[in-house]
């Protein structure tokens, strides 16, 4: 159990993040879920890089055993990417709020035009279809 603690934590974060993205309609909450999800990836990379008994990866003749530095570098990049995504996402949400007056996704989808038009079209089509066969 303890051995796999890091993996379990990673998976929990991953699933929780994905769940929020799937289940929440609030656009900000979705972004929070997304960030959680991304955080799990940071853990996925960094945790295995820790070498038991090792020091931080600082070049020093006195220290022979140190953690794998590569994942740290990679995840630094990933964090930057994650921040950029979050910032852009939040910007979009602000603009969406301005344009639609809401940040609930289902309300926004309901406000969009095609649905109404479509219902009319379906109605018209079935009407004309019936009219045609009757005549």
């Amino acid at each position: 159990m303890i051995v796999h603690f890091s993996q379990i934590a990673t998976i929990l974060l991953m699933v929780a993040g994905l769940y929020v993205v799937i289940a929440r309609g609030n656009m900000v909450k979705k972004l929070i879920g997304l960030s959680l999800f991304q955080t799990s990836v940071y853990l996925l990379y960094i945790l295995p890089g820790k070498v038991l008994g090792g020091t931080p990866p600082i070049l020093d003749p006195a220290r022979a055993v140190y953690a794998n530095p590569l994942p740290h570098v990679l995840i630094l990049t990933a964090i930057v990417v994650g921040i950029a995504t979050l910032a852009l996402g939040l910007t979009l949400v602000v603009r969406i709020k301005e344009a639609y007056g809401t940040i609930e996704e289902d309300e926004i989808l309901a406000k969009e035009g095609p649905k109404e038009n479509l219902k009319d079209r379906v109605r018209n089509r079935s009407k004309s279809g019936r009219g045609g066969t009757a005549a």
Partner: protein, 493 residues
């Protein structure tokens, strides 16, 4: 001197261009920078292709670091093919963009629009040339973030929602991908694709690898709009600014397909346990679903841009089907269709961009008789449509022909019949466009419009002409695709 640095020049040209364009803060200057940068990129792409054909694989180490630690750019027959495609489309899109950007983007944002275009191009090219799995992720995110911005710059407020949806979905996709890469890193200890392949061969347990493959395939699948993960695409293409739609439709999904092929064949194909089990049947099923359902959805669309977007999802089905066949002819067909579809869809979206510029609408029922006043534009749209159907004499026929042969070679005669049958659906949606555009009496929108400006017609007809040209003289793209397929299947070292 320059020749040795070609791979990195390919990325640097649009990247530096993007920085300059951002600094310029002036629409005209930004466009000029974009044009020069993309022209340079295209030239470098062709030079790369030429070198790969002459000398074989090019390996370039960034900063001189060895692959284990540093990043390697690796260009072979497959990426050279993709890079040339992106280069061609980038230049033509830049030429096309000026007028439509003037009309669609508010002046203060024009410079940032070109910045994003160049960033997107840089990201896509980076994915194509890099030989490092994590580096590919970084480039994937560079292109994705700029794409979200490009889409959000669209005039319609729905563009914002489309961009937001794509942002969520795209980030999930990229994260899935990076999870898969992380798992591979855990089992092999390296991120360099070449080294991964070497170390996979001696790998004992394949469980981690299977999960890694699943994450990577689904992650990239989201990016390339694999059915049923395509739902972000129609709105994104429909509400993005016209020139952004051209760039995205022609290159973004195509580069993602390249990445998928790279992983499926080069990386996982090398390992016996993973090679062909999971993806074959599932991918064939999903491809067929895309070919039929997405195309059927295209038939009932009223917005031509959305129609074309759904058609893209359907056409991507053909490409992935070619990959799923996993024999040289099938993969050649898939890659060739990737190439041909990029060019004809680019022409189609350019034509729509010109029509939107002149009429302000992309609704099918409002565009009746537009062929009378914009004959050249409508003709380009029609040629692209014929290509989508796969009418002989267009490049679409050649690639579908290869796909059919590939299906027969794989012993799936029924697949060959389904490929032909699904073309019927394309006949329906293209037929709808042709009927409305050419044979209806001009509606109000058409009466007030006039032919598109020459600077839009030229790139549009460049792509439409190439659709015809490669339909007749198919040897060049077919040769490239076939070489790429052989490289993917390791038929050549």
């Amino acid at each position: 001197m320059i020749a040795t640095h070609l791979p990195v020049l390919l990325i640097l040209a649009p990247l530096l261009g993007a920085i300059l364009a951002a600094l310029s803060r002036n629409g005209v200057a930004a466009w000029l920078i974009g044009l020069v940068a993309s022209a340079l990129t295209a030239a470098v792409a062709f030079a790369l292709l030429w070198r790969v054909q002459a000398e074989g694989v090019i390996s370039y180490r960034i900063g001189g670091w060895a692959p284990e630690l540093g990043i390697e750019y690796r260009v072979d027959a497959v990426n050279a093919f993709i890079v040339v495609l992106v280069g061609i489309v980038a230049v033509l899109t830049m030429i096309f963009a000026r007028r439509s950007v003037l009309a669609e983007i508010i002046p203060e944002r024009v410079a940032s629009f070109y910045t994003m275009m160049l960033l997107c191009i840089a990201g896509l090219l980076g994915i194509a040339v890099t030989g490092d799995a994590f580096n590919a992720f970084v480039f994937l995110e560079i292109s994705s973030l700029s794409t979200y911005t490009l889409i959000a710059l669209g005039r319609d407020r729905r563009a914002l929602v489309a961009a937001y949806q794509y942002l969520i979905v795209g980030t999930i996709g990229a994260t899935f991908y990076v999870i898969g890469v992380g798992l591979i890193y855990l089992v092999t200890g390296t991120l360099n694709l070449g080294l991964i392949v070497e170390r996979l061969a001696s790998l004992q347990s394949s469980r981690g690898l299977i999960v890694a493959e699943a994450f990577i395939v689904i992650g990239i699948g989201l990016k390339l709009a694999l059915f049923p993960l395509h739902a972000w695409l129609p709105n994104a293409y429909a509400y993005a600014p016209s020139s952004a739609a051209v760039l995205l439709a022609s290159t973004a999904t195509k580069v993602a397909i390249y990445l998928l092929a790279r992983f499926l064949f080069t990386v996982f194909g090398g390992h016996i346990d993973v090679g062909s089990i999971a993806f074959g049947s599932l991918l064939i099923g999903l491809s067929l679903a895309a070919m039929f359902l997405a195309s059927a959805a295209a038939v009932v669309q009223n917005d031509i841009k959305r129609l074309l977007a759904f058609s893209s999802v359907g056409q991507i089905g053909y490409i992935t089907l070619g990959l799923a066949l996993a024999n040289p002819t099938g993969i050649t067909g898939g890659l060739l269709h990737l190439f041909n579809h990029a060019l004809m869809k680019g022409a189609a979206f350019m034509a729509m961009g010109a029509i939107v510029l002149r009429t302000g609408t992309a609704k099918l029922d409002e565009l009746a008789g537009i062929g009378r006043v914009m004959p050249w534009t409508a003709a380009a749209l029609t040629i692209a449509g014929l290509g989508l159907i796969g009418v002989p004499g267009t490049s679409g026929f050649v690639s579908k022909y290869y796909l059919i042969l590939g299906a027969l070679e794989a012993g799936h005669g029924w697949l060959a019949i389904l490929i032909v049958a699904s073309s019927f659906i394309a006949v329906l949606y293209v037929g709808r466009i042709v009927e409305v555009v050419w044979f209806r009496e001009p509606a109000a929108a058409a009466r007030e419009a006039s032919e598109a400006p020459l600077e839009m017609l030229l790139p549009m007809w460049g792509l439409a002409g190439v659709t015809i040209w490669f339909g007749v003289h198919a040897e060049w793209p077919a040769g490239l695709a076939s070489a790429a397929a052989d490289t993917l299947l390791r038929m050549v070292p």
